[in-house]
Amino acid sequence: MRLYGTFNGTLVIAGLAIIFTLIAPSIFQFFTIITLTQVIGLSILALSLALVWGFGGILCFGQSAFFGIGAYAYSVAAVNIGGSTGSIFIAILAAAIFAAILGYFVFYGKVSDVYLAVITLTVSLILYSLMRRTSGPEYKIGKALLGGFNGTGSAPLNMPGDGSAMLFPMQTFYVSMAILIIAYVFTGWLVTTKFGRVCISIRENEVRTELLGYDTRLYKLCLFSISAGIAGLGGVLFCVGVTRVTPDVFSLGQSALAIIWVIVGGRMTLIGPILATFVLYFLTSSLGSQQILNANLVLGIILVIFVLIVPNGVVPTIMNWFERRRIKRYARQKERRMKLRKHRAIG
C-alpha cells in the first residue's frame, strides 16, 4: 500500500495523532500541555497555508491575517454571546468571508501570483497597524474593547450550550487535538475530491485548466476562502491557548513563521508543515530563553538555507529518497530475476 499522497496515508497519520493525544498527558508536564494548545493553533495555520499554497499554488504571504481575524472574531464574539461554541463558527465565517472579499478583487482582477503574495502580506501589515491604534475606549465591538497594543482577552472554551462550564486545560488540549485531526483529515480528503484535483491542476498549469473549461478564478476563490476559514479556526485555538489576542498575530514575524513552517515541512504535503510547526516552535522557544542567538537571526538563516538548498522541504525530500531507493531496489531485483531466467534458458 502506497501511503504517501493518498487518503489512506492521511487516515494512518490521523490514527497516529490520536495515539499521541492519548499518551501525551502521561509523558509531558502539565505546562507543556498548555503550551501545546497554542502550538496546535499555529499548526492549523501552517496546515491552511499548506493547503492554499501547496495544493492551490496560491502564494498567500498574509495567511496570518485570517488567523488573526479568526482570533479577534472569536474573542469579540465570546464576550458578546457569552459562550465559545457559536463564537468558533463566527470566527471561521469571519475569516472566510474576509478572504472571499479580498479574493474577489485579486483573483477576478487576474493579479499575478507574486503580486498576490505581496498584497496579502500588505493586508496583514495594515491590519497590524490598524489594530495597534485601537486602544481607546471608543474602539469596541458590542461589549468587547479591542484594546489596541495590549489586545483583548479571549474566553476559554466551554461546554456546548453552557457558557459557565469552562473546560480544564487538559480537556482543552483534547478538544484542540480533535480539531487539528478533523481539520487535517478534512484537508486530506478535500485534495482527493474533484474540487481538489482541479485545484492541483491549476497549480500545475492554470492556462491549460482554464482551456479545459474550468473557471479557475472561482476555484481559486473557493480554495482561498476555505483555507482562510481553517486559518481562522487555528486563530481561535491559539488565542484560547494564550488567553488573549494581541495585534502581533498580524505582524510580519507571524506571517514569516507560517511560511517558514510550510517551506521547512514541505509545501506539497499536509503533515510536513504541521510537524515543522511543532519542531520549530520548541526550537525557537528554547532559543528565546538564551541570549546569544537572536531568534529572528536563526529563522532568517533557516529560511535562506531552505530556499537555496532544500526548496522542497524536509518531508518530501525524505519521501523522495525512500521512493528512489524503493525503485532502485525493485530494478535490481528485476535485473537479477532476468539474469537468472537467461541463465536457466541457456543451461
Partner: protein
Amino acid sequence: MDLLFSLALQILYGIANLALISLGLAIVFGMMRVINLAHGEFLMLGGYTVVVATNNGVNLWFAMLILAPLVVGLIGLIVERCLIQWLYGRMIDTLLATWGLSLLFIGIITSIFGASTSTVISPPLGTVTIGEYTSSGYELFLIFVVIVLLALVYLTLKFTSLGLVARATMQNSDMSACLGISTSKIYMVTFSLGAAVSGLAGGLLVPITGVLPNIGVIYIAKAFITVISGGSAILAGTTSASVLLGGVNGIMSYITGPTFGEVALLFAAIILLRLMPTGITGRFFRKSQ
C-alpha cells in the same frame, strides 16, 4: 486659506514620503522584476548608519546624504552577489530568500544594538510659519530631496550610457545579452543602486521617525503597495502611485484621523489593482521609464 495651504503641504509631504520609501524598491522591481522583501531592512540599515555615525561625531548632513547610501549600497552589492544572483527568474524563491534576509538583518541589528535605541536626532532646519499654522522645515526639505532624486533617476536613465544599457536590459534582457551587454553586471549595479537609494531614504527619515531594529515593517507595507500599484515603470509608476495613494491617505487622515488613513490607502490600492492588474503604468504611460 492658510488652512488649505497647510493641508496641501501636508498632503504633498505625504506623497513625497511615499515616493521616498518606495523609490529604491521600484528601481529594483522595475529593472529586475525582483520584489525585495528586505527593502524595509535596507531603510533600517540606512537609519542605523546615520545614528552610529552621528554618535561618533560625524556631521548629520554628511551621514544622511553620503554615508547612509554608501554603506547600504555596499551591503546591497554583497547581498546581490551572495544571494540574489543565484535566484534570477525564480521570483517566488527570491521573495522567500529576501524575506529570510530581512529576518536575518533584524536579528543581527537586534543582537548588536538591542531592541531599542536611545539616540534621538531632532529634525534640523526648525519650523516654517504659514499664517497661523507652522510646518516643519525639514519636511519641506524632504519634499525638495524627493524631487531632486526623481529628476536624478530620470536624467540617469535618459541621458547616460548606463541608463541606456539599463533600459535595454529592462526591455529585453536576452536581446541585450546578445548585443554584448553583461546583464549580470547591470543587475548587480541596479540592485546596489536601489539599495543605496533605500539607504538614503532610511537615513533621511531618522530625524522624523527614529530607528528601531524592526522599523522596516512600518515602511514596507506602504512601499510595496505603492510599487505594485504603480506598475513596472520606475519613475512614472512611483510618481503616479505616490500621488494617488498619498493623496487618498492624506485626505482620509485629515477627515477621520490617522487610524483609517492607511486602511483607505490599502482599499484604494486593491480597487485600483482590480481595475488595472498590472498597475497604473501597465495601463497608461506604457512608453515611460
